[in-house]
């Protein structure tokens, strides 16, 4: 990253041009495939959001406009700065513009007006809305209208059901495509389960599931405290796609239990917390899928390399040799990019949100 230059709002573009002129001969190419607006209240997650932006631009260069609303600064605060950010890999020749906008809470309605002149024409606009969408922020509607796609962060919410309802409302009002960082984070698991249950025999096993046990990393950090969401998403996705009906849920001492009904039997889902300091919070660590006839699929994340999932498949009469599945290297950046850039709104995600928002009695989310 180049030095950060504090400039007046009118000098944002001229200063960026000067910075780029000074970088001539360094082998860096100014590149931009889309506009990425990140909007957040100043809180503990700002650093994390910067790291997400960094990972996104490593894969797909973009103009990042980072808007922070700070309740604690004087009410007249309106501060803008520019810098050039590049991929962490020295082999990557691209670099991109970063425009930082810091506003006091009283000034936050100025945000859309500050952003508008700096949107690069003809390129898509992705809005990463890092705050709880169920809180009624007057800026959100204005920014969502600009956006090709809005990426929410369910980590910001205290209630997944409220989150689901709020996101659906936003989609309805803005018409933009939507995504969620936690949904993106479980893409590898969705891919793995889809592949595992491909084929008629495996699909039959999936239909015969009687018990699902998910272990997730309950470690909380300054960035993450809602660590159950990815596990909830994954089980909810399976249930929704398999057409199961929600029956009941309850918390017990060390876990959460959800019961579903299929056409001819019930499925018990258990979410078990486990604390692993070496792994990112909220990550799904292990998944056990047990069928009525005793067939078992056991998936566990390698502790040495969290990208590797060890798979054990056994039936009462046969035990296969263990297999490994490899997730993408840079989960947050790469899978986010896959979600937001390559595809529209995931139909599975949309239908999961609809399903979640219609649930009554799920008291563990």
């Amino acid at each position: 990253m180049s030095s950060e230059y504090i400039v007046s709002p009118s000098q944002i573009e001229p200063k960026l041009t000067t910075v780029w002129d000074s970088l001539q001969g360094t082998g860096k190419t100014r590149a931009c495939l889309f506009n990425l607006i990140i909007y957040t209240q100043n809180n503990k997650r700002v650093d994390y959001l910067y790291s997400v932006a960094q990972k996104v631009i490593s894969k797909f260069p973009s103009r990042v406009i980072f808007v922070t609303i700070d309740e604690e600064v004087p009410k007249e605060t309106l501060k803008t700065s520019v810098s050039v950010i590049s991929s962490e890999s020295e082999l990557n020749p691209t670099a991109c513009d970063l425009i930082n906008i810091l506003l006091s809470m009283q000034n936050r309605e100025r945000a859309p007006f500050m952003i508008l002149p700096h949107i690069i024409t003809d390129l898509p606009v992705y809005l990463l809305w890092a705050d709880d969408p169920s809180k009624n922020d007057p800026v959100s509607q204005k920014l969502e209208r600009l956006a090709t796609r809005v990426i929410f962060d369910s980590e910001s919410t205290d209630s997944l059901l409220c989150f689901a309802k709020a996101v659906l409302n936003h989609k309805k009002s803005s018409g933009s495509d939507i995504a969620d960082l936690n949904w993106a984070r479980i893409e590898g698991w969705r891919q793995l389960l889809t592949e595992t249950f491909k084929g008629a025999d495996k699909l039959a096993a999936l239909k015969n599931l009687s018990q699902i046990t998910l272990h997730y990393n309950c470690l909380e950090t300054k960035f993450f405290c809602h660590t159950k969401i990815q596990a909830l998403y994954l089980q909810g996705w399976i249930a929704r796609q398999m057409g199961w009906t929600f029956s009941a849920s309850r918390k017990q001492q060390n876990s959460s239990l959800i019961t579903y009904k299929t056409q001819d039997h019930s499925v018990q889902v258990e979410l078990k917390p486990k604390q692993i300091t070496a792994m990112a919070p909220g990550r799904i660590l292990e998944v056990d899928l047990l069928c009525k006839d005793g067939e078992l699929f056991h998936f566990s994340r390698s502790q040495e390399d969290p990208h590797i999932i060890n798979i054990h498949h056994s039936t009462p009469t046969l035990c296969q040799l263990p297999m490994q599945f490899i997730f993408d290297r840079y989960e947050s950046g790469q899978s986010l990019v896959k979600e937001i850039f390559h595809h529209g709104t995931s139909s599975h995600f949309f239908s999961l949100l609809q399903w979640l928002s219609s649930l009554k009695g799920l008291d563990i989310a």
Partner: protein, 514 residues
Amino acid sequence: MTKPTPHPLEEPGHQQRILEPCILVIFGATGDLTARKLFPAIYNLKREGLLPTNFACVGFARREKSHEDFRKEMKEAVSEFSRVKPLEDSVWNALESKIYYHTSSFDDKQGYASFKTFLETLDLQLGTKGNRVFYLSTQPSYFPVIIENLHLSKLMYDFSTTKDKWSRVIIEKPFGHDSDSAHKLQTELLKHLSEEQIFRIDHYLGKETVQNLLAFRFSNAIFESLWNNRYIDHVQITAAEEIGIGTRGKFYEEEGLVRDFIQNHMMQLLSLVAMEPPHNLSADAVRDEKVKVLECISPFSETTFTTHAIRGQYGPGFISGESVKGYREEENVAKDSNVETYAALKLFIDNWRWDGVPFYLRGGKRLPKRATEIAVVFKTAPGKLFHAAKANIESNVLAIRIQPNEGMSLKMNCKVPGPQNIIQPVKMDFRYGAFFGCAPPEAYERLICDCIYGDSTLFARQDEVFNSWRILTPLLQHWESEKEKPFPNYPAGSWGPQSSDEFMQREGRSWRLL
């Protein structure tokens, strides 16, 4: 026909493709291609999570070797040749235990019988469900022998009757030596295989920029409307290599450059540039259109042998300041060899769109640099508006760089700032690396993955191969019948024989200086 019920967990168009479990068998596993290309590709697919979870790779070759020896060799090869370095131990360890080796000669029936038992054991242990990809990385003369033995040992399934498992065969080029031998080989293969099971690999088609040709042409309306004889003057397709023939002397003495480069890679590029839009992106729709292009090209004949084709052979010269030997001094090459290491051809596509537009194909070894490019040269602007001012009006050129520096550029004319009407050509440039940062995957990665998935779009179909041979075989036969040529006729490190430049001058054009 009823549509198959979609898998409930699969999200069409959103998730990555779901690959079925399988075993990849490499025949000729001790060869260079396996070490340099295939295993690095398999490793990178594993690294990217693009191999099926239930997967194994088995090397099949004559040389006596244990599983452990083979794993060790492949680990060294991947460390050296993988596009991503250094080798990641966790990825390699996950792959290594699924790598096996089977010793047998290609014609030993016993060897195939024990191989079948071995694969069936792996199926049970690894859940690979009997699905097979057989990669024939051997000399073409072994293709029929291997296929027949696979059939006899029931390792090759009948495509039309076996529905619960599949077997596919990847065949390396060259597919035949000429028109007759290509047909003969196909007849041999079809005794035991159906066309749907045959994947003729041409690694050019696995390159991102080549795949982008379809996207570029058919997702950008502005270019497609100019893509015809009304606006295009000619097309130049160049495949230049600075390396010589290296250790491939024996191969080159039998094949030469036209068979090595032009009959496959360059004819594929030509058909992608010139094809009509397919009605969808299915393998057959795309390949149907490519074949139509080739069908519109007349084969070389007495009247075009000398007017539409130039050939050359490199002599000693300099590459990157270092002296290098001539072709005839290379290992396993005859001192009086008449084999071409350079060829330039002019072809016409006799259809509505391309009538009268020459397509120039130029390929060569020991040229000044490695560069593969398609250049679409447009007609000059009509009228004399700027010509009167002796302005430097040049043709617009759309150049699509296949390798290296993948990307494209558009040359156009622009007024130089100032009081005079001076026109200067400028270039608008797009480089993949400048926009998409990361290195694109190797062609073999994409193609192996496609074959496991059963998508043959990026593989050559039989009629493409036959048509390509139909066009070129008369020329090759004519050249073979000619008496000694005044070879070498270009020094290594130059852009080919002088006759090639003169040929273009006679056309009122010139080769692009790459």
